[in-house]
Amino acid sequence: MSDFTHNFWSLFVTIVTVVSILACLILLIASGQVKTNNTPDNTTGHVWDGDLREMNNPLPRWWKWMFILTIVFALAYLVAYPGFGSYPGQLGWSQEGAYQKETETAKAELDPLYARFVAMPTEQMAGNTQAMAVGERLFMNNCAQCHGSDARGSKSFPNLTDNDWIHGGTPEKIQETITKGRIGAMPPMAPAVGSGEDVKNLAHYVLSLSGSPHDSVRAGLGKSKFTVCAACHGMDGKGNPALGAPNLTDDIWLHGWGENAIIAMINNGKTNQMPAQEGKLTDAQIQVLTAYVWGLSNKPGATAAK
């Protein structure tokens, strides 16, 4: 009840509630005292418009008792549950408490299920259809917003199905990525590379690494500039998962393909973030998700096709 800075509204609500209920009760009792004249033709004697007569069709008495029952119920309810302003009710019920109770019940129901999955090694869990059904739902609710519902990502959001891993594709690494999150930082390298022409030449060299369409003359000129990149991406451009430096030779372009995208990346750099899921998801949920994500690129058969 942080909305209420002082007692006035709480008191106001309580008084209005009690007065309304008591008014209903008084009205019921008073109307029970009223008598009306009954004529032989079962009318009350009221006549409108010359011939419109009011019939006397009384309510059954048990109906009145039902009304009184609702009043008794209302009062009992108001004592038991929060209704009188900030009064919390004898049962101590609250929305928050109800929610907590529900999540606890759900947890108690789900724990044995998760315990069974967690006991399996990741590779085995990825083959368990029940675990993967749970994993898919977790993915849809927590990951698909960025990585897409088919896990194939989008520009700047990595594709999780192509077995190309920036930070490593072992179950342990995947679990680490989900738990702690990742920050992929590419610093602006233009000053280190040189002039705009140098950057363009370097971009063509980078394109040449994956056999993408490029200007081979420019690529040749740019090759020497690659030494500044090699610190992270390696001399051969195959990247370094330990540093989160992507492989530049596999024709997979997270932040856009082509000369312009690469020039922009060298000039401006980029900081890309995968948020940590620790605390949002339980350890067991993260393990199931790990198996799901690992399974996306490690299905039997799928690996053979690569």
Binding site: K35, T36, P58, G148, R152
Partner: protein, 479 residues
């Protein structure tokens, strides 16, 4: 024409303040217990026939089997509704709407033709009251015996009879509750669970709740439900017209009423046909006197007709002092055939026409219904993306709902844009009566379509069989 005194203020005549004690009544009436006398006759036989028919269906239906499952089962947990060969999804609720519209129109039609037929013969309130009153009669005896028993001081006999009656009532009520729950939880499993005392708490609750409602409504509330609680009762009277068949006392023939010997000539005594035996009042389940004319309490059960015809036979008078007739028929002293001819009046014909059209429409749509449902949802995560090979890709999630009870294989395809291709699996298997979400990827060559959104169509068809559905969606090409 427009009268000059349209604006005239018509005074409200105040209540006459006569103060004779008998005429002053409370605004709340004490319920008077009705002790309906048992009755035999054509209409009573019809009612019993309807009791048997409706209850045979209600109690019997959940026990029927269809293949490996209960024939009629509304499985709320998995949200599948089985009606014999039909598997309905929550998305099929339109059929329930149709059913309710048809039911309402049937009510309109029956009511326009012959008044509150529903109330008198098939309404559960009437049917269960009839069953409960039969039990009561078998144990406590007919009207006079029951009245005497209720007035008598407490005794062992009274206690035994009352206890026995309530035990039988409660048994019937609980069985009714059990049957009701059996429509939502497989009734045989429910029985097994009960025997092993493992019934779910909600199931126990609903058995008891429905049982309690049956016991209370049919045992105690009875006509109070029709008089004070039922909304249909009130609006059915609004569908009457002067050609509606209603249960009516013929005052022209009956009045002046009076008792007389069987041998006496009523004409000589200046009496009408009504011998004022009061039987019509005694048999009435709502406790009214039909001789006062049409009243809102009358449920058209025609018990008074049955009993009066018996009296007329004994007196050697023609039957039909109380009969099903129309207001016009009564006023004009029409013959049966004259009244029947008025049945084909516009109101009835319109009701029948609409009812027939709707029924045929509903049945046709059920018969030709595609046992497959598809929802296409564009992936909200990414508008579109460029993938290897310089192709533009959009992702969709497709929910495929199999409304058959066999495993089905479906083939997917997409049309609507030049070079549009389905990059994901084109065949999907969905288990019996299951629904499945599958991600679907559509691709076009980069630059083959202008930026913007383009309508596309995704087709899903059963590999075996003719079930086929085309769903519209859009393909987005970024700027």
């Amino acid at each position: 024409m427009s009268s000059p005194d349209a604006s005239k203020v018509i005074p409200i005549v105040p209540v006459a303040t006569g103060n004779d004690g008998d005429n002053v009544v409370s605004l709340y009436a004490a319920a008077k217990k009705v002790y309906p006398r048992s009755v035999q006759g054509v209409f009573a036989r019809w009612r019993w026939a309807m009791v048997f028919l409706t209850q045979l269906v209600f109690y019997g239906l959940p026990w029927l089997e269809w293949g490996q499952r209960q024939a009629v089962l509304f499985d709320l947990n998995t949200r599948r509704f089985y009606i014999f060969g039909l598997v309905l999804y929550p998305q099929d609720f339109i059929y329930l709407t149709g059913l309710l519209v048809i039911s309402a129109l049937s009510l309109f039609l029956f009511t326009a033709v012959a008044g509150r037929l529903w109330c008198g013969y098939t309404c559960p309130q009437t049917v269960y009251s009839e069953i409960f009153m039969w039990v009561e009669r078998k144990i406590e005896g007919d009207r006079t015996l029951r009245m005497r028993l209720d007035e008598s001081p407490a005794s062992l006999e009274k206690f035994v009879k009352k206890t026995f009656k309530h035990v039988v009532w409660i048994s019937i009520a609980l069985w009714t509750g059990y049957t009701f729950v059996g429509y939502f939880t497989p009734i045989r499993e429910l029985g097994m669970a009960f025997l092993q005392t493992q019934m779910g708490s909600w199931e126990v609750f609903w058995v008891l709740f429905y049982g309690f409602a049956t016991y209370g409504n049919a045992g105690f509330l009875r006509e109070q439900v029709c008089k004070y609680m039922c909304p249909y009762a009130r609006f059915q009277s609004a569908m009457f017209d002067r050609d509606t068949l209603i249960v009516t006392y013929d005052p022209a023939r009956g009045e002046p009423r009076g008792s007389r010997s069987r041998k006496a000539d009523p004409k000589a005594l200046r009496l009408g046909a009504c011998v004022d035996c009061g039987l019509c009042v005694q048999v009435c389940p709502t406790g009214i006197d039909i001789r006062k004319g049409l009243q809102y309490e009358c449920i058209s059960c025609a018990a008074c007709i049955d009993v009066c015809d018996g009296v007329m036979d004994k007196m050697n008078y023609p039957r039909g002092l109380i009969r099903q007739t129309t207001q016009n028929g009564l006023d004009g002293q029409w013959t049966q055939s004259q009244m029947w001819r008025r049945i084909f009046r516009p109101r009835v014909l319109v009701y029948s026409g609409v009812l027939l059209a709707l029924t045929v429409g509903l049945l046709t749509s059920l018969v030709v219904r595609t046992p497959l449902k598809v929802d296409v949802v564009r992936d909200r995560a990414a508008l579109s993306r460029i993938v290897a090979g310089g192709r533009l890709e959009n992702v969709y999630r497709i929910q495929i709902m199999n409304a058959t009870e066999t495993e089905q294989q479906y083939r997917l395809s997409a049309t609507g844009l030049e070079g549009l291709e389905l990059a994901s699996d084109t065949e999907v298997t969905v288990g019996p009566a299951e629904s499945r979400w599958v991600p679907v990827r559509l691709q076009i060559p980069y630059g083959s379509a202008a930026p913007g959104s383009h309508p596309v169509e995704i087709q899903i068809g059963a590999v075996q069989g003719s079930a086929h559905i085309a769903e519209k969606s859009v393909f987005i090409v970024p700027r």
